[in-house]
Symmetry: C2
Subunit: 701 residues, 2 copies
């Protein structure tokens, strides 16, 4: 469910790359004029002309006088949190609940617990204050379905009144005064000339109408539910996991309404805590990001019953894009560590490959090793094993391979998973993979051990005449090129520094030594690359002197892994930390990494900035490097999201001078969860905040 942008720009749908572009009706009869209605402004009147296709000569006598008008903007007040979105207008309060809740590991959980966490429905509440009213007023909720194939329809089962499109999207309520109707015009449902006309299913607008007696405040609960009966994916055929818990749309409607209070229980405590702790702008930002993340999530099941966790890449809908997984991992590890394990296993089992590597402008190839694909497919189609939907040979920019970065991402995610869960069994199962991953990373440094400097110098032969890129694919060379990239170099250092411990535990002493020595080489290369001023070049040794904030990104991994000594000012990598600290200081003090509004500019040479990465770097800057919270920047970043050209797309990542041109409707903003981290036990503190008192369910694996 997407809504909040004016007009028919939101709606109910699954699997789309953006809002469904449906009208949503949330309204109330006026207090003084019976038969006149006010609505939140999420609708337009386009369906009125649909009737003209039937009435060729315009002889109509079926049309109703317009009686629904939007509330004026000044009368509307909105509060957006992580799990509540509340709209007040006149005597109407509308609340949408999207609880933040842990999903128990499906391999061990009881079905009842899974149902509560996975029911494909959202609880909505309408509260009407009719205490001063002199007559019973109608309140209503509805939408105009956008499914091109099927009509809207009203129905009843037992106490439940519903309206929806086919069996795929529906709203329902148990309120005893409720009735449902479909029509071209909502007016024809609110005030039907004859009640038997309420099932006019040629019209594509459906409403649920309830009554609030004079002199009362009344709250009515609704559910908005989703059901995809069809297999969810091709390539690898799967179904939505909820189909193993609920047999039909009707079951989802019934369950969600009967368990509504349990479903929404966590909402208010969390939102109260967040707004008290983070303040209005950050709590709204985080809430916005979490909702967009949930909107991209997809939990599947193979015909053999195996669970598959997928986060779609927003408007691009690529599945489990690995360079998003690595940024979203803090949110997932705090809530559901098993999903991280699930995704890492999917990469090992189906989306890994072994390659060779080569220097630029040379045909000589050298052994590369294990690495991973950029993603697992797109728009519900799983790519063939070992292939992403995205990566193409022969390119040096967008759509090229990310072999080295995804290898790094697998190592970093594995290390974070292991440090958080201490899942010894998984470590053992993946011993050879961890070993292969390390060897592969070293092979991408230099084939001659003597010439290694810790930093990637060779591209995968899969690139053919092209060259590898990074997650900043659409940015210029300062962040886009993988080879010798500063951002990637610091992440590479974090890989080596973190994997050492796990290799040692697994008895791989030689490889652990190799990791440590590579970490030192890498740190030294970075430190040595600083210029006289203290600035680090965006691409080391290739004359690309752009200044980039994400130089510091790699510091996050030791910090979150609880290895504070690796990033402390007096630890073994104090030089690296000091160098990065100095670099960041220069980025800001020289002004090259700021937009005029105070927003952060990730690269001095590009207008393209990534909000998710900004949130991540803010957390490093504040929590590790002890820079003060930059409220002016927070305001600027929030204003980008709320810009009239951007807010239609919910949360978006890439901002070209404040305008969303790509990575819209996107999940990666949950890096903002790091704002909640406590330095001593960052993931544990986030988990405690999100889940209230998690001690009862403290088992992480």
């Amino acid at each position: 469910m997407t809504f909040g942008y004016k007009g028919s720009k939101g709606g109910l749908a699954t699997e789309l790359k953006g809002p469904a572009d449906e009208s949503i009706f949330v309204g109330l009869e006026e207090s003084r004029r019976q038969g006149m209605y006010q609505c939140l402004p999420f609708f337009d009147g386009t369906e009125e002309s649909a009737a003209d296709d039937y009435d060729i000569e315009g002889l109509r006598d079926y049309q109703h006088r317009k009686s629904i008008f939007p509330f004026s903007d000044d009368d509307i007040e909105r509060t957006l949190g992580a799990s509540l979105d509340t709209w007040k207008a006149g005597d109407l309060t509308f609340t949408v609940y999207t609880p933040v809740r842990s999903i128990p590991d499906p391999e061990t959980a009881a079905p009842a617990d899974l149902q509560l966490a996975l029911v494909p429905a959202i609880i909505l509440e309408l509260t009407v204050d009719n205490r001063k009213g002199t007559f019973a007023r109608k309140a209503f909720l509805g939408f105009s379905g956008s499914n091109r194939k099927r009509t809207m329809r009203p129905w009843k089962i037992g106490d439940l009144t519903a309206v929806g499109q086919a069996n795929s999207t529906a709203i329902a309520t148990l309120d005893p005064t409720a009735y449902a109707g479909t029509a071209f015009q909502p007016e024809a449902i609110l005030d039907p000339r004859w009640p038997e006309n309420l099932d006019f299913t040629l019209g594509n607008t459906g409403l649920l109408v309830v009554e609030v007696p004079a002199g009362e405040i009344k709250t009515v609960q609704f559910t908005a539910a989703f059901f995809e009966n069809d297999p969810a994916t091709t390539g690898l055929e799967t179904n939505y996991f909820y189909k193993s818990l609920f047999a039909s749309m009707d079951e989802v409607l019934d369950y969600s309404l009967k368990n509504a209070d349990d479903i929404i229980a966590p909402c208010k405590p969390l939102d109260d805590y967040l707004s008290a702790t983070l303040g209005d702008v950050r709590s709204a930002t985080l809430g916005h990001a979490i909702k967009s993340y949930f909107g991209s999530s997809q939990f599947l099941q193979t015909p053999e019953g195996k669970p598959l966790w997928v986060i779609n890449e927003g408007e691009y809908r690529m599945m489990n894009t690995f360079d998003l997984t690595v940024d979203q991992i803090y949110f997932e590890l705090a809530l559901n560590p098993w999903t991280v394990r699930n995704v890492l296993d999917q990469f090992v089992e189906r989306y890994s490959y072994y390659d060779d590597v080569k220097f630029p402008d040379s045909d000589q190839t050298y052994p590369g090793g294990l690495t991973f694909t950029h993603d697992m497919g797109v728009a519900n189609h799983f790519s063939p094993p070992g292939r992403s939907c995205y990566e193409q040979a022969g390119l040096k920019g967008v759509f090229s391979y990310m072999s080295c970065e995804e290898l790094i991402n697998w190592i970093l995610c594995s290390c974070l998973y292991l440090s958080h869960t201490r899942d010894v069994q998984w470590a053992k199962q993946n011993q050879s993979t961890l070993a292969d991953a390390l060897r592969s990373l070293v092979n991408r440094d230099h084939p001659d051990p003597q010439q290694r400097n810790g930093v990637m110098s060779l591209d995968s032969t899969r690139c053919q005449t092209g060259a590898e890129i990074t997650t900043y694919d659409s940015l210029d060379k300062s962040l886009g090129q993988a080879r010798n990239n500063l951002y990637l170099a610091v992440k590479t250092w974090a890989c080596y520094a973190l994997i050492e411990e796990h290799l040692l535990t697994l008895g791989e002493g030689l490889l652990a030594d190799l990791a440590r020595s590579q970490a030192k080489l890498c740190a030294q290369t970075i430190v040595d690359s600083a210029d006289d001023q203290g600035f680090l070049p965006a691409v080391i040794g290739e004359g690309v002197d752009a200044r980039i904030i994400p130089a510091i990104e790699g510091l996050i991994f030791p910090y979150i892994a609880g290895r504070l000594e690796l990033v402390s000012a007096d630890g073994p990598y104090a030089d690296l930390r000091a160098t990065l600290e100095k670099h960041l200081d220069l980025c800001f003090s020289t002004g090259v990494c700021r937009f005029p509004d105070g927003g952060w500019k990730l690269s001095s040479t590009s207008r393209n900035s990534w909000l998710s990465k900004i949130y991540l770097c803010q957390s490093i800057a504040e929590q590790l490097l002890k820079l003060p919270v930059d409220q002016k920047a927070d305001n600027a970043h929030w204003n980008w999201l709320m810009d009239e050209d951007n807010s239609y797309f919910a949360w978006s990542d890439q901002m070209l001078a404040g305008k969303a041109h790509g990575s819209r409707y996107y999940p990666r903003g949950v890096t903002a969860i790091l704002w909640l981290a406590d330095q001593e036990a960052p993931l544990k503190s986030i988990r405690e905040i999100l889940l209230g008192n998690p001690s009862k369910q403290d088992a992480l694996i």
Copy 2:
């Protein structure tokens, strides 16, 4: 599959209200310039900008130079028949096969026969004349999927190469030179820089590419297939019948390609016959209408295995709209009489009701009786029992009830079914329904037997304050109002005249007498209503003097039922025939029922004309009243369909002064099948033409 309109205006889809608006690529490499291609003009370049969403700063190196251009209009030659649609351009010939074939009764047929008739796929052929070529040339077929939820994907199973969207639409071939690819640009598939880039599933354009050696003519067969795994309908849950014959899209692709020659066998003989018999304009018109009819057809199965036949109402997608069934019955009875029985049974079992009736402007009600709903639902949602999706209380125009007309339609369809099949068992099963139907029709004449005149005078109380309408719902009073309507009166007469025989056979002597006397009363009322000139008023006795061609419509039923004596110039209703003949003559001779281009104007007071009804009335005028074939009118009617504003919608019915404003993408044009009728045995002659030599499968029930 809809195509033929320029641009991305056709495509592959099911259940839509119009074309899928996809690009279709049908092309060939040029003979002199390798790497340059010519295509039929059914595409545009909109996908090129889709890549921009990924490449925010426009750093692209993935783009291909444009190398595909449409053939010029002058180089394209098209031949449209009932089952072949052939496009020639340069060295390319593209043929689409839509065989006209009888579907055996599913209750008794062998699965293999049902598979051949019901496989949800169309055979397409590309023939390339490369005899003068000096290099092997690529030919290709493809499309850009419009499913909002799922991506395009290429795949292979065994010898089969396919590309499609999810598992719902796909094209495939067994040609051994074929390869498949997906991309933003077709150029990237035709000439990939690296072959491993062919599975770039971010792009939504998919092609199948084959090679034609120099010096050869080569024909490659393709299939275009459709599969809906989801339940087909709500309200009453059903699945597509073909799911009982084929388990998956892959099975459909495989079966249709391996049986392609059998599938297309009937095509050429039929089209050759039609163009030789009817001439170019009428054979193209009939072919166009049949394709649109097939596009609206839908064969379903209940969970209990019961078959349900549905014709959707074109862009409106109402299911089995009864006032269309009665016009399409000639085509269905000739091909598949069991489908008519199936639809009539559905109406009796679920879509009938008993009502009361009343005179206009009076609250006094009288017994009405059995009647039938306008339709069974809309856009794959079955309405509740006894309810249509369309009819509403309180109206006098569009969306009002058609209780009397649908009652008449059930009687007429039953009589035609019985006279054609002599299905005694069905007659006996429906004895009480036939009796109730007659009583109900008489009750709508007048509650006082003495005051009856054979014509409907009372409206159903379901109308409440409204009044009944006819199938000409969006026309003015001249054809829109049911009560005392001349068009409906002649159909009413046909009901009475035809049902008598069946009631008599069933031993219902008294009712048979009643029917005969009502027929006489009705005929007399019509004859008496003529004015001094001989013109009949559109509404009898209500001062509506519009002149309408469909006055003669009712004559078709006795004629097709083989009861020629009822419509002969010297039979018991010679007066009625002479009156109608005179009326029609005046309609034309005075010019009030002509458009300036020579097209027929159904009502002198409306610009809105129905092509299906024109074809029907043409057949009566030519075959029964012996008017000459009106070639100028045929040309005008064809030109309406081919008008640039209209032809996008395939075959359309309602034409407002030659422009399609409603009833577009419509099935009802198969009334043109009556052009083929032989006066002695009209349905038998049509059946023989459509099925070649039907003697082998002559059993009609």
